[in-house]
Symmetry: C2
């Protein structure tokens, strides 16, 4: 059996294959030229719309895809990533954007983008970001990182309405959230089922809800 080695650049690094999805002709061409003109990188596809990209990329299987947000036609960059990422989980996607404060950051990340950089990023940095992404990093500016961290922290912090609960009530609510029956909660906490009822009743009053599901939704800040 013959083992073929991967293409190597002059520096003996693996060549990173890149595809570009960007409707602006000038930007697309400039990136294509940059990538093909740089040792260790090869642009193996460039598309001006998401539909063609979704159709062609499965036969090209690039290591990295650079994706614009807004694309002509029915599909935007986020949906394009979602479709491809579902089929090819190991493919790495880098979102290209004009603004750092775009709320679509989160949609892009949820869809499967791992890197997130500005279009105005200097050529050398774009190349190193591509390599970084290929090697398992998530290149992004610290401004964008802060927004991701803030989102993370927001999800983590509990609803302030829960502070009105006593510690025992929080304990009961936690059991409720896990789906235990009253009798199971009673046995888990070594109290009578009637006491569980009473606690639940008090919890509902404090949270202004009338069902377990509503209480649990408040517990999880929804």
């Amino acid at each position: 059996m013959t083992v073929y080695s991967k293409k190597k650049s002059q520096d003996n690094m693996d060549i990173i294959s890149v595809a570009i999805v960007e409707d602006n002709h000038d930007i697309r061409t400039a990136m294509e030229l940059l990538i093909n003109g740089s040792d260790g990188y090869a642009c193996i596809g460039a598309f001006n719309n998401a539909e063609t990209a979704v159709e062609q990329i499965p036969s090209l299987l690039p290591n990295v895809v650079l994706m614009d947000f807004n694309l002509p036609g029915g599909m935007n960059g986020i949906e394009c990533i979602a479709r491809l990422k579902g089929e090819y989980p190991d493919m790495h996607f880098m979102m290209l954007t004009v603004y750092e404060d775009d709320d679509k950051i989160f949609q892009a990340l949820e869809a499967g983008a791992s890197g997130y950089i500005l279009k105005k990023t200097p050529p050398s940095e774009l190349l190193s970001a591509i390599r970084d992404l290929h090697e398992g990093g998530s290149p992004m500016s610290s401004q964008i990182a802060r927004r991701v961290v803030a989102y993370f922290q927001k999800q983590a912090k509990p609803n302030p309405a829960l502070e009105a609960l006593t510690s025992r009530e929080k304990e009961i609510l936690d059991q409720l959230s896990k789906g235990f029956l009253y009798k199971e909660i009673a046995s888990n906490l070594f109290i009578s089922i009637e006491t569980v009822r009473r606690h639940v009743h008090n919890i509902y009053e404090k949270l202004h809800v009338r069902s377990r599901t509503d209480a649990v939704n408040k517990y999880y800040n929804r």
Copy 2:
């Protein structure tokens, strides 16, 4: 009324006040010397344990706190951040760590840390990370950013068990998750309550659960 201007460095930048919480004497002293020896930065406190830090930092009110993970005594760096961040939400915390692959990243972020860098970070980078943090960024390596993004994506993607549900069943489950009564769901979807029952029953069978709360927990990937 006299207005006092903030201290300015030679470059006319505001001076960033920094506190350090780190039990290793050599590292702590080295950082203190670096910060005090650099124009635009001032180390206004250095502590070798969390308890003293929690006690003293409120009277110092530094712009930025550099925090070690492991500290002697009962309190670790994460709890120290949580306590202080609760009282001073505008204070910025930078986690100092030896390893990038620490699972405590997420605990630190939840507690309120915004930056996350390695102890071996070169002096000049440490200083720019401090400034970056002070100015609203979240300095972190792209390796750490990837882990945060991955965590984010994991939370976002729905439980694959839900794919066994028909679209109508997903609709019902969504209504269940919002806490609607069967009769409300029936009226919202213009079907009889008996049909709601049937759908719920089928959903439970497919998800292998026996209660609304368990179904909703699966719906939200918990």
